[in-house]
Each structure stands twice: as structure tokens, then as C-alpha cells.
């Protein structure tokens, strides 16, 4: 009996919670699913065409300019505004570097695209023994919990 009352209370609370949450949902239009115009080659600067705020994001378009700082370190923007990224990039673009299990390093997959600034150019087997000692935490981001099939052949 007590269990039934507890379940009923939980269901009513959940239902009221959902109804309240629905009332709190923003009525703003969603960001465009696809950028209406095809962009040219090279790193885009959103602020060249858009001067104002990307409505609903709290940020100006300039905050999404693909500067070299943005290209190297975009984790916060990707975490907060993945649907802005999705306007131009399909998830496979992210997976070029950020897949949980990959078959080859990004600089090999994109060998004809040196402009993409992919990680680990050249013979990284040598360099990882130097850079890994200087800062092993930089390896951990991609290889600490996934994408480490090859690492385990030596690091057992």
C-alpha cells in the first residue's frame, strides 16, 4: 500500500514537474538547421556578414569566428552551443578528430588537407615519448578513456 502511494506521489510530482517545465520552455524560434548559403574555402568569420547577436545564444556572432584560438580550443563553445556548430558541421566533421574509436590518426585521414590543423602531424610515435612526458594530461583528453587500442600494445 505504502509503495503504491509512493509511486502515485512520484507520478503526480513528475506530471506536475513536466507541466511546469513545459510552461517554462522558451518560445523563441530555434537556430537555423542549415546555413542558408554555402560558405567558401578557409576559416569563416561569422562577423563578416553578421554584426549583431545570435539571438537566443547570449553571444554575438563574433564569438563564433573561427580564429586560430577558436580552432585550437573550442570545447566550451561546442559544449554550450552544439546546435550552432550543427548549422554548418555534421557530426562526422567532429568525428574526424573526436571519435571514440578511430582507425587512423586524423592527419593521415586528411592527408591532402594540411589546412585543417589536425593533431599529430609527422611521425608522432617519436614525439609522443617527449610530449607525453612533458604533459601526459594532454593525451588523456582523447586517449584516457577511449581511442586507445594502439596505446595498449605498449602501455599494458
Amino acid at each position: 500500500m505504502n509503495r503504491r502511494i509512493a509511486l502515485l506521489s512520484f507520478a503526480i510530482t513528475l506530471g506536475l514537474g513536466v507541466l511546469t517545465a513545459c510552461g517554462m520552455v522558451s518560445t523563441e524560434k530555434s537556430f537555423a538547421a542549415v546555413h542558408p548559403q554555402e560558405l567558401g574555402a578557409g576559416r569563416p568569420s561569422c562577423s563578416v556578414c553578421h554584426e549583431d547577436e545570435l539571438k537566443g545564444s547570449g553571444k554575438t556572432y563574433a564569438a563564433f569566428n573561427h580564429s586560430s584560438t577558436f580552432v585550437k580550443d573550442h570545447k566550451v563553445q561546442a559544449g554550450q552551443d552544439a546546435n550552432v556548430c550543427a548549422t554548418c558541421h555534421s557530426q562526422s566533421f567532429c568525428a574526424d578528430c573526436h571519435a571514440g574509436k578511430t582507425v587512423m590518426k586524423p592527419s593521415t585521414k586528411l592527408g591532402g588537407r594540411p589546412d585543417r590543423a589536425t593533431p599529430h602531424p609527422g611521425n608522432y610515435l617519436t614525439m609522443h615519448r617527449i610530449e607525453g612526458k612533458i604533459d601526459p594530461s594532454s593525451c588523456f583528453k582523447c586517449h584516457g578513456r577511449a581511442n586507445n587500442d594502439k596505446c595498449t600494445s605498449c602501455h599494458r
Binding site: 564569438a63 562526422s92 571519435a99 594540411p114 617527449i130 584516457g144 577511449a146 595498449t152
Partner: protein
């Protein structure tokens, strides 16, 4: 999830594309070949064939519903390229997405990557997000973490046992023209290591709280960063003080001084025990390592990525147990001829003279080195060509990892032709001189294609 369930799920998802109004199929087929001649070992030939394939099917009965699939498979036509396996593959993601017309609300179900403050994960499950009134944003996800089979059987059993569930969420708040702040929670696994059938000192589970910020008070300032705390229960240390529970501080500030002149500064701190929580490779990322890594740096950027960009950078890092390293140098990047021609040049120096001791088992050696990289890429609508070279020279050839070499280089030459608007073929030839091989020559052939099967009619 079992192999059979994966196959059934994948077949069901692919079948679902039959009802789509727009289907985009894209893929890359790659054939690689190289021979390996390592002193003391037999000569070996490798010839892996790799297929990447993606499908984006939109308007599945309704404008808002879409399906996204991407994965790869590899077959070795020569020697096995990974330990004892002549074939391999992975479904990187495969999910149904319902995208609402308002509030940037969306629901995903299937296998997807999640990036919500604390943690970037691959999940088999469900996720949802929406904007709320007054600038609030909420998102959550729950499911089973994608399991990677990279450990020996006993450790793999423990890892899989502990990885029974993953869930998390984030609440953010946005203020117009100011930016966004958020707090997030992530829990990976419901069973701690002490609750395993045979208690283990390695804990594959993890509980983290994150805080993130993107602050843009004026157009000239852009501040991003995050802090992540390890909030899992850990046994008190037998001696000494407990290490910091802050897994990571990572902050970057960009200041635009003039339209073509900006500066950035960044600060990172990672406390290894907290940061390495949940690793599936504890032999390398040791969860009992008490030290921390701290780094700070800066860049001066002059010019524009659309034409000429000159960058000077400096970064100093310090790892408690090994010492300090400094990296400094510069890059030039040029784009011209209506973006058909791009080129880059960079030179960097890494000094590690203050490194205390790089390996407990062998005498100390220097990690200092220089790096030069130059590349050029030309791309017209029909043809493409690129050259990409990198050279590293090392101060201390007594470093046992260099096999007596003072330097290493690699040059990649690539040529490509677009046969039709949807099909491009290209080939890369790589020549390398490095401490591992007498001669390192590799060839790669690549075919990329993208087909759009948009139906007429519909809406």
C-alpha cells in the same frame, strides 16, 4: 549491448531511411600500403582497406525527424595492422533526432557523442535539451556508455561490470550580449571499485561536477573556460594529505585590441588523481599519481585568417614530478587567389632544461627540441594538390627513444581530382626519416563521394 543487438538496431535504423524525403550518403574509401623494415625483425607489408560511411536522412515523415549514421570498417589485405586482428570496425554514431521548431529543443536516441560541460562521451541512450524562458538552458542524457575492448580479460571484465550506466545533465544561463555560465554533472557507472566481486584498487567509475563559462561583455573580449571537480568517494590516504579534488581548470581569454591585432592568454591546471578518474588505461594514466600539471601561455595574432595571419606564441608548463618545459615560436598562414591557394609556415622551440628526471629507470636525458613545419595547398573546383613537411631536431641524441638519431622528418605530397561534382579521388605519398624505421614510405589512395537522394514532392 551485444553484437546481435547492434546489428538489428543498425538494420532498423538504415531501413528507416526509406521513409526519408532527403537522404545524403557520403563516404571515403581508402587503400593504404607500406612496407616495414625494422632492424632485428622480418620485413612486413601492410595493405589495409578502410571504408568510412555516413548517412544523413532528414524529414522522416515530419520535417523535424532525422537519422544520422557514421562508422567505419577496415580489412587488412596484408599483415594485420592491429594486434592480431585483420579486420575491425566501429559505429561512431547512429541516432534518431527530433528537432523542435522552437527553443532549440531536441531529443536524440541511439548512439551519439555528448559534450555537456563535464565530460565528452559516447553514449548508447537518449538525450534532450531545450532553452527555457529568462535565458535558462537545460540538457540531460542517460544510457549505457560505449564500451571499448582494449584491456586484458580480467581488467576488461571489471571495466564492463562498472560501466553499467552513464547519465548527466547541465543547467546553463544566458544573458544577452554577455555570454553564458553553466553547471553540469556526470556519473559514469553505478558501482564503485570497492563493490566489485573482487575489490580492485582501479576504479573505472567516475562522478564529476563541472562549471563552464563563455563571457563576452564587449566585442573585444572573449573569455571561455571550465573547472571540473571529482566528487566520487575515495578512501582516505594512508599517509599525507589527500590530493586536490579539482580535476581541471582550463581558461582562455582573447582580447581584440584592433581589427587585425589580438592577444590570447590561457591557464590550465590538472590534478592527475582527480583528472584521470575513470580511465580504462590505468597503467599509463595512473589514478594513484598525486602530482599535477600546470601551464600558462599566450599568443599575439596579427592579421586575418582570410588573408595573412602571423602568430607568435609562448607556453610554459610544469609537471610536478618532472619539471618545467617552455615552448615558443611563431606561425604564418596565408590565403590568396580567392582562397584557392593556402600556405603555412611555423617554427617552434621546446626547452626542457629544468626537467628534473624524465625516467626513473634510466639516466636523465633532455627532451628539448626544435620543430619546423611548412605546407602549401592549391585547390580549384576540379583539381587539388598539397605538400606538407615537418622536421624535428633533438638536442640530446642520448635520449634512448631516438635510437641515436638527431632529427626526424616527414613529407606528404597529395594530388586529387574531382571526377564529378559528387566524386573525388586523391592519392598521398608520404616519405619519412625517423628513429623507428630504416626507410618509411607510405602510399594512400582515397575516393570520396557524396550523393544526395532528395525526393521531389513532399512538402
Amino acid at each position: 549491448m551485444t553484437q546481435r543487438t547492434n546489428v538489428v538496431l543498425l538494420a532498423a535504423l538504415i531501413t528507416a531511411t526509406a521513409g526519408a524525403q532527403d537522404v545524403n550518403v557520403y563516404g571515403t574509401t581508402m587503400a593504404q600500403m607500406w612496407k616495414q623494415d625494422v632492424p632485428g625483425f622480418d620485413k612486413t607489408s601492410y595493405a589495409p582497406a578502410t571504408q568510412f560511411l555516413g548517412i544523413d536522412a532528414t524529414k522522416l515523415g515530419t520535417e523535424a525527424l532525422s537519422l544520422h549514421l557514421f562508422g567505419w570498417g577496415r580489412v587488412d589485405l596484408g599483415e594485420a595492422t592491429s594486434m592480431g586482428k585483420k579486420s575491425d570496425g566501429n559505429l561512431t554514431y547512429g541516432y534518431l533526432q527530433y528537432r523542435f521548431a522552437e527553443a532549440n529543443a531536441e531529443i536524440k536516441a541511439g548512439r551519439f557523442a555528448i559534450n555537456q560541460g563535464a565530460g565528452m562521451e559516447q553514449v548508447d541512450g537518449i538525450s534532450a535539451r531545450t532553452d527555457l524562458k529568462h535565458g535558462f538552458v537545460v540538457s540531460f542524457f542517460a544510457g549505457k556508455p560505449v564500451i571499448y575492448k582494449s584491456q586484458d580479460p580480467a581488467d576488461q571484465r571489471n571495466y564492463e561490470f562498472q560501466h553499467d550506466v552513464i547519465f548527466g545533465g547541465r543547467v546553463g544561463w544566458r544573458l544577452s550580449r554577455m555570454g553564458e555560465v553553466g553547471v553540469s554533472y556526470l556519473q559514469d557507472g553505478s558501482t564503485a571499485a570497492k563493490d566489485l566481486p573482487i575489490a580492485s584498487i582501479v576504479d573505472y567509475s567516475r562522478r564529476q561536477v563541472g562549471a563552464d563559462i563563455h563571457f563576452v561583455p564587449i566585442a573585444a573580449i572573449d573569455f571561455t573556460g571550465r573547472t571540473i571537480w571529482d566528487v566520487a568517494h575515495h578512501a582516505e590516504p594512508l599517509s599525507g594529505t589527500a590530493p586536490s579534488r579539482i580535476a581541471e581548470h582550463d581558461y582562455t581569454m582573447l582580447v581584440k585590441i584592433a581589427p587585425l591585432f589580438s592577444m590570447t592568454g590561457d591557464f590550465t591546471e590538472r590534478n592527475f588523481q582527480a583528472y584521470y578518474a575513470g580511465t580504462n588505461m590505468p597503467s599509463l594514466f595512473r589514478p594513484d599519481e598525486r602530482g599535477k600539471h600546470r601551464g600558462y601561455g599566450g599568443k599575439i595574432l596579427l592579421g586575418s585568417a582570410a588573408s595573412l595571419l602571423v602568430t607568435a606564441d609562448f607556453r610554459s608548463t610544469n609537471r610536478d614530478s618532472f619539471g618545467e618545459a617552455n615552448r615558443f615560436g611563431g606561425d604564418v598562414r596565408w590565403t590568396g587567389m580567392d582562397s584557392k591557394l593556402q600556405a603555412g609556415f611555423g617554427a617552434h622551440r621546446v626547452t626542457t632544461q629544468n626537467v628534473l628526471k624524465v625516467d626513473r629507470q634510466v639516466p636523465s636525458y633532455s627532451l628539448s627540441h626544435r620543430e619546423i613545419r611548412a605546407w602549401v595547398m592549391y585547390e580549384t573546383g576540379r583539381y587539388s594538390a598539397s605538400l606538407d613537411g615537418i622536421h624535428q631536431s633533438f638536442d640530446d641524441q642520448h635520449n634512448p627513444n631516438l635510437n641515436g638519431k638527431k632529427a626526424q622528418s616527414e613529407l606528404v605530397a597529395s594530388l586529387g581530382a574531382r571526377l564529378t561534382p559528387s566524386v573525388k579521388v586523391s592519392g598521398d605519398l608520404t616519405y619519412g626519416d625517423n628513429p623507428f624505421f630504416k626507410k618509411d614510405v607510405r602510399a594512400l589512395l582515397r575516393a570520396e563521394y557524396r550523393f544526395s537522394l532528395a525526393r521531389k514532392g513532399g512538402k
